[in-house]
Symmetry: C2
């Protein structure tokens, strides 16, 4: 039997949640599908919930994280801004580095 250390991280801006694992999954789905509606379907959440999450992210962030275009054939689209992509990448890097760090720290104990 071995002990394992697990972690969950999130980023706050002025005590508001900016990004957590769920929001990052949604942003990645927007990047993949180019649409908030398709992203919400992939994650099995309502469009309304997805819209509120993205609105909260954009309100908490220093710069816009997503952009949306309205109308045209097939309706509007949504995508990540360069800032949004960098932020999502930074979150994922922080997360992975945190896991590695904790594994390493635990391995230095006798448990």
């Amino acid at each position: 039997m071995n002990y394992q250390v697990k972690s969950r991280i999130w980023i706050e801006a002025d005590d508001q949640i900016l990004l957590g694992e769920g929001r990052v999954r949604l942003l990645r789905a927007i990047e993949e599908h180019g649409s908030l509606s398709r992203a919400s379907k992939q994650l099995n959440i309502s469009y309304k919930k997805a819209w509120r999450l993205i609105d909260a992210v954009n309100k908490a962030a220093k710069e816009p994280v997503t952009t949306s275009s309205v109308g045209g054939v097939g309706g509007g689209g949504a995508s990540l801004t360069p800032y949004g992509r960098d932020l999502v990448n930074a979150f994922e890097t922080l997360n992975k580095n945190c896991w590695k760090f904790l594994d390493q720290q635990l391995s230095q104990t006798n448990f």
Copy 2:
């Protein structure tokens, strides 16, 4: 406005939760009060819930984390084993090191 990275860690043993922040608070309260009953009162949880949590900790851990004595003046007591104390200390050290590590990692980004 500054971003802050927050984290929550927990330790698992064979996919069972061994220790998280709540369990550590309970173990610290047992150490302080020498009694599961008084510890549960301090944390505002039922004795039954506290007992179940401690039972789960002892079942998941490689060695007993608490001991209890029955009867005597004032009823039975509970205390941490040396292994339990070391484990709680290790958890708290891991947690603090994780916070420091994440702060440092975030400060190396441009966000």
